[in-house]
C-alpha cells in the first residue's frame, strides 16, 4: 500500500463509530488521550507505512474546520 485510501471502506460504519466512542466510556480526558494514542500507534503499525501515516496526518489536519462556534 503506497497511498492513503479515503474511499468508504468500513464494513459497518455505525458499529465502528459506536466502538470508538464506547472505548472512551468512564475515562478522564488524560486517559482518553492516551487510549487514542495507543490506538493510533496500533493502527499505524498495522498500516506499516510512514508514507501513508503522514498522508493520514495531513488529511486529518486539513479536515479541521475553523469552527465558528469555537469556545462555546
Amino acid at each position: 500500500m503506497t497511498a492513503l485510501d479515503t474511499s468508504p471502506r468500513l464494513d459497518d460504519p455505525d458499529l465502528a463509530f459506536e466502538s470508538l466512542v464506547e472505548a472512551h466510556r468512564d475515562l478522564t480526558p488524560d486517559q482518553s488521550r492516551r487510549l487514542d494514542a495507543r490506538l493510533v500507534l496500533l493502527l499505524a503499525n498495522h498500516i506499516g507505512s510512514v508514507t501513508v501515516l503522514r498522508e493520514a496526518i495531513a488529511a486529518a489536519r486539513e479536515a479541521a474546520w475553523e469552527a465558528p462556534e469555537a469556545g462555546r
Binding site: D30, R33, R34, D36, A37, R38, V40, L41, L42, N45
Partner: protein
Amino acid sequence: MAAFEPPHYPFRPATDDGARHRVVVAGGGLVGLTAALDLARRGQPVVVLDDDDTVSTGSRAICFAKRTLEIYDRLGIGGAIRDKGTTWNTGRVYFGEREVYGFDLLPERGHRNPAFVNLQQYYVEHWLVEACLATGLVDLRWKHKVAGIVNGADGVRLAVETPAGNYSLTADWLLACDGARSLVRELLGLAFVGKVFRDRFLIADVVMHADFPAERRFWFEPPFHRGGSVLLHRQADDVWRIDFQLGWDADPEVEREPERVRARVRAMLGPAIPFELEWVSIYTFRCRRIEKFRHGRTIFLGDAAHQVSPFGARGGNGGVQDADNLGWKLDAVIRGEAPATLLDTYDIERIPATDENILNSTRSTDFITPKNEAARAYRDAVLELAARHDFARPLVNSGRLSRPAVLHNSPLSTPDEAPWADGAPLGAAAPDAPLDNGFLLDRTDPNGFTLLVFGEGAPGGVPGVKRVNVPVASVAAERYGAGTGNAVLLRPDQHVAARWRRCDPAAIGHARDRALGRVA
C-alpha cells in the same frame, strides 16, 4: 574511593616565540589528544596547547562505542580501555513500576570489540597523553592558552598566554578541539546554531559496591523519581553514573546540594546500599553545530564544531570519528601526496555524520522530554504498548546508541562497477571479523591503504597498498558480501573506498588516487 588521582602535568615556558609549526592543536581534551596522537603516529610533529594542566574532571564521556574502540586499537590504547572499562552489550528499559523490555546491541559474534565499554573520560585522556609522549613527536604545552588568532591564507597566527608571559606562534594548520565553549570559534566569530532543550538533568557519579549487572538501565517515571527519567551506567572503579531528569523549573543551586542529591540516590538504591557522591553537576542539553568545520587552515573537531545531548553517546564518539576522518587526510596533504582540497572532504563527510548525530540525539531528547501533553501521551502510549507488543519496542527512544557514520556518496569512494547487494556498503567503516586466529581490523595498515583480497590466486598488489588475504568461506567474506577473486580497498581510516568483483592493479591505483582527492 575512586582509584584515579588526576595527574598534574608540568608547565614549561615557551622558548620559541615567533616559531612556525606544522600542526597546532588547540585543546588537549579527548578529541584534541586523539587528533594529535593520530597525526604523530603518522610521523607528523604536533604542538598541543591546553589552558589547564590535567585531564578532564567529573562525568564527561563514559560510553566508548565499538567504532571508537577500533580507532583506539589502531592508535594503540584500545586494550587498556577494554581492560579497565566495563564492557556491556545489553540494556533494560523500565516504565513506572515495570520492566518494559531488554535489548542486546551486539548479538553478532566475531568482533574484537563489544558494542560499548564504559570508562571515565579522564582515564582515556591520561593514556592518550602517555601515548602522545611515547611518539616523541607531540609537544604538549600545559597552561598555554590561545588568546588571539589571525586565520591567514598562508598560516594561522596565534597569540598564546602562559603563567610565564605571552608569546606568539604560527601554525600551518590549526585544529580547534577546544570544546563546546571553543574560544577559537568565538575569536573567529562563527555562529553556533541549534536548539536548547527546556529541561535540566542532574548528573551524579556515585561510588558504591553493588552487584547490578553491567548493563544500561533507563527508567521512565520510576516510583523513586516520579515525573522524570533516570539513566544508570556502570563505570570503572565501582563508579556509577546516574542521570536524573529534573524538569525545566528545577533550581540548579538547590538541586546541586549534596544532601538533596544523596536523598535522590538513596530513594533509587534503597537504604541498604552505602554509597559516596564523587561528582555532581546540572546540565541543560543542546544540539547545535557551526555551518562549516573547515575554515581555511583552521579546522574544527569535536564539541568545538558540534554539540549533542548525551542520549546515544554521540558527543565523544562523534569527536573521535572526526579525528579519525581528518588525521590521514591532513597527513597526506602535508606530505604533498594529496591536494589541500582533500581537506574539504572532511566537511563533506563529517557534516552529514554530525547531522545524523544531531537528529538522533534530538529525537531521543524529545522522547525523554515531551514538548507538550500530546507528545507525552504518545510517549507513554509507546511505553505501555512496548511492555506487551514487540512492534512498539523500536518506537521506545531512550537514546539511539552511537553507530559509525556510513559516508554515503562520498566523492572519495569509487562507485561499484558491478552490483554489490550484500555486506558493508561503500563508505562504511570496515566490519571486523575473525581472521587467522586474530581479527581482520588488526591486519589493516594503520597508516595507509589496505586491500582485502578474497580467495586464492586473486590479483596481485599495488605498491603502497597493504594486501591482506581473506578466505572465501569465512565470516569476513560474508560481512563484505565478497566471493572468490573479489577485492575491497580500505582507506587509512578503515572506511570502504572501493570494491571489485574482478580487479586489476590499475583500477586499485586509480581508486586509491581518488580516495586521496588526486583525481575525480
